[in-house]
């Protein structure tokens, strides 16, 4: 019988005290102990990014971190991205741009993109692609994901600002992005 450890941490702004086995990954703890199943398991080896969460401001593969290591850390998961009923602008832009097909990769992309925009509110397309390169999406070919992040950044969302309802149509935004690409 493996003995469990008590971990005190902060998840999505709330203090959490939990019991886990030392061998359990943070991903497993989030999903199986706390029922925060928004973080997904695609590989358990740090290669797909579906499990990405933000730990003390950095995007981290939660499958590569032990639950016990969460002690004293501030963790944000996809469940903590929206501000109550108001979606984060990234969430809104992912919906508008049809950036998800099956949606299994979406939580990871949202968290990686949030970590990027929190540090660099005005990234280039290249910087976006670099920041998202650890997240695999098999459905979309990334085009609409990158466009959504470009668009979110264009709406001036820095650290933890929440979305205003956009006015332009997707077509206008896309045209805009394409023009920016040309320049």
């Amino acid at each position: 019988m493996v003995h469990k450890v008590i971990v005190e941490t902060t998840i999505n702004g709330d203090p959490v005290e939990l019991l886990c086995e030392p061998r359990q990954s943070l991903l497993e703890v989030l999903r199986d102990e706390l029922d925060l199943t928004g973080s997904k398991e695609g590989c358990l080896t740090g290669d797909c990014g579906a499990c990405t969460v933000i730990v003390d401001g950095r995007a981290v593969c939660s499958c590569l971190m032990l639950g016990a290591e969460a002690a004293g850390k501030h963790i944000t998961t996809v469940e903590g991205l929206a501000n109550g009923a108001t979606l984060h602008v990234l969430q809104q832009k992912f919906l508008e741009h049809a950036s998800l097909q099956c949606g299994i990769c979406t939580p990871g992309f949202l968290m990686s993109a949030k970590a990027l925009l929190d540090h660099n509110p005005n990234p280039t397309e290249g910087e976006i692609r670099y920041a998202l390169a650890g997240n695999l999406c098999r459905c979309t070919g990334y085009d609409k994901i990158v466009k959504a992040v470009v668009d979110a950044a264009r709406h001036g969302v820095g650290a933890s600002q929440h979305g205003k309802v956009p006015t332009e149509s997707t077509a206008e935004v896309t045209r805009d992005i394409l023009e920016r690409e040309k320049r």
């Binding site: 695609g42 049809a98 099956c102 070919g141 085009d143 609409k144």
Partner: protein, 778 residues
């Protein structure tokens, strides 16, 4: 960009509403199969073969059974013997005997990763500990790893009972048995027309090449999962992420000998499938473990399990000989294809043969295609199964012929391209199709019109065909008392399809898209619905929703007539409003009429069930890809500078998701072209069973993906829909190969075109360095 031959008369169709399940998916609330947990649930795990080919002498489960926390163990001995029945399950033809052996080995293991035993325990960790305690005694046999090896007369035989079956013509059921001796080649199909020798005599240019493509995996990000609850009354409920809940029911029933009516399958949200989730792996195992333990059992594959034991698509060996007259007419084509099926018969060798020359009208043609068993995981469907590999071969040779004839590669394709009434390789004539329109749209695209300059750069194009559509679907459309509408189908939504179903109902009923709720339900709550696959959901389920909405509309009109005391024929419906001519009848909106349902006869449910026909009988789709590459002169790494895809979709219901399908297919094709491959060692063990080494494209590997939506309506669909999911993956491999040729003058005949393969090909060509070749070409 959309190029349409039709003018839109729609208000909802063709717009881009936000998907109904979107908020759940961006907030993490959506429940995928692995997210579901039940009280008292156990966790199952599978022990897999460490050998590619071995006889199982014995399995000792005693220690595993005694491990604290283990509640049930199973081996092949716990599964019933299943007779070999060829069952048509959606677009698949499944031999249930082999399916059963693939789910759990008996007697022999046939690939690295083949399931040998399973346990259920109180946690995943305990289950994995128990697997370590299982003792299996194997007699290791020689593995056969490629089609070429397996077809040799002296090759070790995988399955003693196999005999070659010659299907002279797939549409003609008359098939002949081959010689009565064991073989690794259970299937051979041939299509033939014209006079091949005469065709080659008429050719001014003849190109002959051999090709090899590596097996590749669908690569869905969500591993397979299943949660089974075996009730004391013998009733089974299975929650899983599948493309076809009715498939899971049928297949689990046949593997376990449980009546279909005793199984309910509840489809969870699904994290990608691409054909790979149309069969069963874990579902029967979880069901037996649940029966033995009396508890719900959840099983989730690891990524290594996914790569080792779930269907990739076939590796192939192919030969093409093709001739063209001076004016560019293809005079003859001879194609030989061998598809690796994995350990059990059933590669996509027949569709590969039916698709390979499908875009071209060639008078003299012979196509032979073979199904070959090898010691690899049994292949599963993967986006346009069979077509991408055979298109890679033929589209490369076609590019070479176009160059020899001095004709632009798109003009060459248009010159030889199929039009309505011309024969498909399998014989029957095409109905209204849009191949020429698709080639033309690509020729006129911004991408193709732009010049590409610079050393080691080149542009390539290629075309592809896929059947699309058909099969069975059911739909119900409920009109609620507040005028809102729910659309219920059994088609699992893998990329936004439930919103397109809602759009169809909204269009018919004149309702706001936000007042229509789409629901995907379980196998007890809707009529039979075939897989989400074969590009058939928008097409066939869309047809069912269209009819069900019309059924509801007819009933609504009858209610209005009753209220107004008018004959039904006098009730008009336009722009969401019911009206009737004459003395002071005030028009009513759908919402107003809905409030009167209770008093005029109760709720309204529109229904439709249909069989949209055999796969390929409706819908046929073509795509053309254009790719610009640059080759790094030092590493031979190929960079994609620009890429675009044109595709005839018939009608784009939700253009955002149509573009998404086209972009995703092209991206998968580029992975297939450049970096993805199954890498087996000499002993037949998979050496890259992880996502670091099985290298799928990341967003750094790709540019934006331009789409050209071509709309040549499908005359067999009320809305003109053809289906959109698959054909986009067919052309990219040849497009990349043709671009590489344009860049550095090397013909690539092996996939993937990774740096080692490219360096080898450059070396064979005479060790020309890339820069100097480019300089010489200038």
């Amino acid at each position: 960009m959309t190029q349409s031959t039709i003018k839109s008369e729609f208000t909802v169709i063709g717009t881009r509403p936000i998907r109904h399940d979107g908020i759940d998916k961006v907030t993490g609330r959506a429940r995928y199969g692995a997210d579901i947990a039940l009280p008292g649930m156990l966790h199952g795990a599978v022990l897999r073969s460490p050998h590619a080919h071995a006889r199982i002498r014995s399995i000792d489960m005693a220690k595993a059974r005694r491990h604290p926390g283990v509640k049930a163990v199973v081996t092949g001995a716990d599964f019933p013997e299943v007779k070999g029945v060829m069952a048509q399950v959606g677009e698949l033809i499944v031999n249930t005997h082999y399916l059963s052996l693939n789910v759990m080995a008996r007697g022999k293991v046939l690939y690295d990763g083949h399931a040998v035993a399973a346990v259920a325990a109180t946690s995943r960790h305990v289950a994995l500990e128990a697997l370590e305690l299982i003792e299996v005694d194997y007699e290791v046999l020689t593995p056969v790893m490629t089609a070429e090896e397996a077809m040799k007369p002296d090759a070790p035989v995988l399955l003693e009972e196999l005999r070659t079956k010659l299907m002279a013509h797939r549409t003609d059921p008359g098939s002949a048995e081959g010689p009565d001796r064991p073989t690794n080649v259970p299937g051979h199909i041939r299509f033939e027309r014209g006079d091949l020798a005469a065709g080659f005599r008429a050719a001014a240019h003849i190109v002959e090449r051999e090709f090899v493509t590596a097996a590749v995996h669908q690569g869905y990000i969500e591993p397979q999962n299943a949660l089974a609850i075996y009730g004391a009354d013998g009733h089974v409920t299975i929650h899983c992420s599948t493309q076809g809940s009715f498939n899971v029911r049928t297949l689990t029933s046949s593997v376990l000998g449980i009546p279909e009516g005793s199984i309910r399958v509840v489809p969870a949200e699904i994290g990608g499938g691409f054909g790979g989730k149309t069969t069963v792996y874990l579902e029967p195992v979880a069901t037996i473990l649940s029966k033995l333990s009396g508890r719900p059992v959840k099983m989730v594959m690891s990524r290594a399990d996914v790569l080792r034991a779930t269907g990739p698509t076939s590796g192939t060996k192919m030969k093409v000989r093709m001739g063209a007259a001076r004016d560019g007419t293809i005079t003859a084509a001879e194609v030989w294809l061998a598809y690796e099926a994995g350990a059990f018969p059933g590669s996509p060798f027949a569709p590969g043969a039916m698709c390979t020359m499908a875009p071209y009208n060639v008078a003299n043609l012979r196509i032979d295609s073979f199904d070959v068993v090898v010691n690899r995981p049994k292949v599963a469907a993967y986006r346009a199964p069979g077509s991408p590999a055979s298109a890679f071969a033929c589209e490369t040779v076609i590019d070479e012929l176009a160059t020899l004839c001095g004709i632009d590669p798109l003009d060459f394709r248009i010159l030889n391209g199929v039009r309505e009434g011309m024969p498909q390789p399998a014989g029957p004539p095409y109905k209204r199709i849009g191949f020429i329109e698709t080639c033309t749209a690509m020729r006129e695209s911004a991408h193709y019109q732009a010049r590409l300059e610079g050393p080691n750069r080149g542009r390539g194009v290629a075309a592809g065909f896929w059947f699309n559509g058909g099969l069975q679907s059911s739909a119900t459309v409920n009109i609620h008392g507040d005028g809102s509408v729910s659309v219920v189908t059994g088609s699992v939504d893998i990329g936004g399809s439930r919103t397109t179903q809602a759009m169809i109902a909204a269009e018919v009923l004149g309702a706001d898209i936000n007042d229509v709720r789409p629901v995907v339900t379980d196998t007890d709550s809707i009529g039979h619905t075939d897989v989400t696959g074969g590009s058939r959901v928008a097409l066939a389920t869309g047809m069912a929703v269209y009819e069900a909405a019309h059924d509801a509309l007819a009933q609504l009109k009858a209610r209005a007539a009753k209220l107004w005391e008018k004959p039904i024929a006098e009730v008009r419906f336009a722009a969401g409003t019911f009206s009737a001519a004459g003395n002071g009848v005030p028009p009513m909106t759908l919402k107003q009429l809905a409030t009167r349902l209770a008093r005029t006869g109760g709720p309204i449910v529109g229904r439709a069930t249909l069989n949209a026909g055999a796969v390929g009988a409706v819908g046929n789709a073509f795509a053309v890809a254009c790719v610009d590459v640059e080759i790094d002169p030092e590493t031979a790494k190929v960079r994609i500078l620009r890429c675009s895809i044109a595709q005839d979709v018939g009608r784009a219901l939700h253009p955002g998701y149509v573009e998404g399908q086209m972009q995703g297919a092209l991206a998968q094709g580029i992975g297939w072209a450049l970096s993805e491959e199954y890498f087996y060692d000499r002993n037949g063990l998979l050496r890259n069973a992880g996502l670091l080494d099985y290298r799928m494209p990341t967003c750094l590997d790709l540019p934006m993906i331009e789409t050209v939506i071509v709309e040549v309506p499908n005359p067999h669909h009320p809305l003109g829909v053809r289906g959109v999911g698959e054909v986009g993956i067919v052309p990219p491999m040849a497009a990349v190969a043709n671009a590489i040729y344009q860049a550095i003058g090397v013909r690539m005949t092996e996939l993937p075109m990774s740096p080692p393969h490219l360096l080898k090909a450059i070396g064979q060509r005479g060790g020309v360095t890339l820069d100097s070749h480019a300089a010489a070409a200038d």
